[in-house]
Symmetry: none
Subunit: 218 residues, 2 copies
């Protein structure tokens, strides 16, 4: 079955919001997709007709199994293309998102499976997010917030949950990226700010609000 780019975008957005907040609302979805609530309602009805969504008006909605399957294939495509753009075409991981938004709608499954093979079956995309396998299975791995790791323990940045331009700009300035190895040296109780040490660099400080969006594996 093939779906329009627009439908695919809805499915992906619902999938992400569902993961994050458990429940998805019409307004939240409209906000995520930069559109109007009325447009969302229109599309929800279409997705229901195609059995991609379980939806009763005013009663909320969530993806059907089929809808989840389609969403995972799009997530897979998005993340593999991002990996390709960074690893092979040498883009920075902060500039690939928009290109991947387009590439994720290329339909051929054979193409994406070949791309996966060409890239060496990567487990995570350049932002640290896991890449679903060919059958759509998503490996869960535990990302821990910087706030929750013990002092003086080497940790590797695996994921940035807030990927706003502003956040990325700040992290770039502090030399923090996916894969950066660091240790938390001090925690200040007053404002929950952290002092970090990155190998071969001088100590830096980040606020609680930044730290809670930086996830690591230890």
């Amino acid at each position: 079955m093939k779906y329009s780019s627009s439908k695919e975008n809805y499915l992906k957005a619902i999938f992400h919001l569902q993961e994050e907040d458990g429940v998805v609302t019409t307004n939240a979805l409209a906000n995520e997709l930069q559109t109007r609530p009325a447009s969302v309602t229109d599309m929800l009805k279409k997705l229901k007709t195609q059995k991609l969504l379980l939806y009763e008006k005013y009663q909320g909605f969530k993806l059907s199994n089929e809808g989840k399957k389609v969403a995972l294939q799009i997530v897979r495509k998005h993340r593999l293309w991002e990996f390709f753009l960074v690893e092979k075409l040498h883009f920075g991981w902060e500039e690939v998102h928009d290109m991947a938004e387009e590439l994720e709608h290329i339909s051929s499954k054979k193409l994406i499976d070949r791309l996966d093979e060409f890239l060496g079956f990567p487990k995570n995309d350049p932002h640290g997010d896991p890449i679903p396998d060919s059958s759509g299975k998503l490996a869960m791995k535990q990302h821990i917030s910087l706030l929750d790791i013990p002092l003086n323990t080497l940790a590797e940045v695996s994921n940035i949950s807030d990927q706003s331009i502003e956040m990325l700009e700040l992290l770039k300035h502090k030399s923090i990226a996916i894969g950066t190895k660091l240790e938390v040296k001090r925690k200040f109780a007053f404002d929950n700010s952290l002092e970090l040490k990155i190998k071969n660099q001088s100590a830096i400080t980040i606020s609680e609000s930044v730290a809670k969006n930086v996830f690591v594996i230890i």
Copy 2:
């Protein structure tokens, strides 16, 4: 400026028909795009409004300079993606067309220039068609002797330099004519004879003295 996939398809189709036949007709274009003449007329008006096409009703049409420029960028994208699919993802050159039809509408110019670089600035796509450079310049097809083309590369017979009755009789027997598409499968060092494969036919052998008079474009 960004154009819809549909507009891009029209521009590309007009470009190709223009190359081939000099003049393009509404019917020919409808046939090429598998659509109806009425739909073509509708689109021609839109393309004119956007100054991509010079068009006066009932008087025929052709691409403006701007339209040609856009068409060449799409051709560039199509051929680079085909090259990528064959060289990097190991698809056969006969199975990549539909995928490239989708990929050619990915908008980022930076992406396609990086891809070009990644691929080593190839001059021709897997079908032998020339790839426009970053500025949209299209290298003129050169006529090369069959003796000088690489193995397993699709070539189209463009010229026969010796047009004696004897030569033409021989070529007729071998089913070789202007426009015939073939590949050189083997070169025998002993007598420089060649083994050729024409689509849908069994392999044939020709001598060096015949081959040097058959020119092709790749």
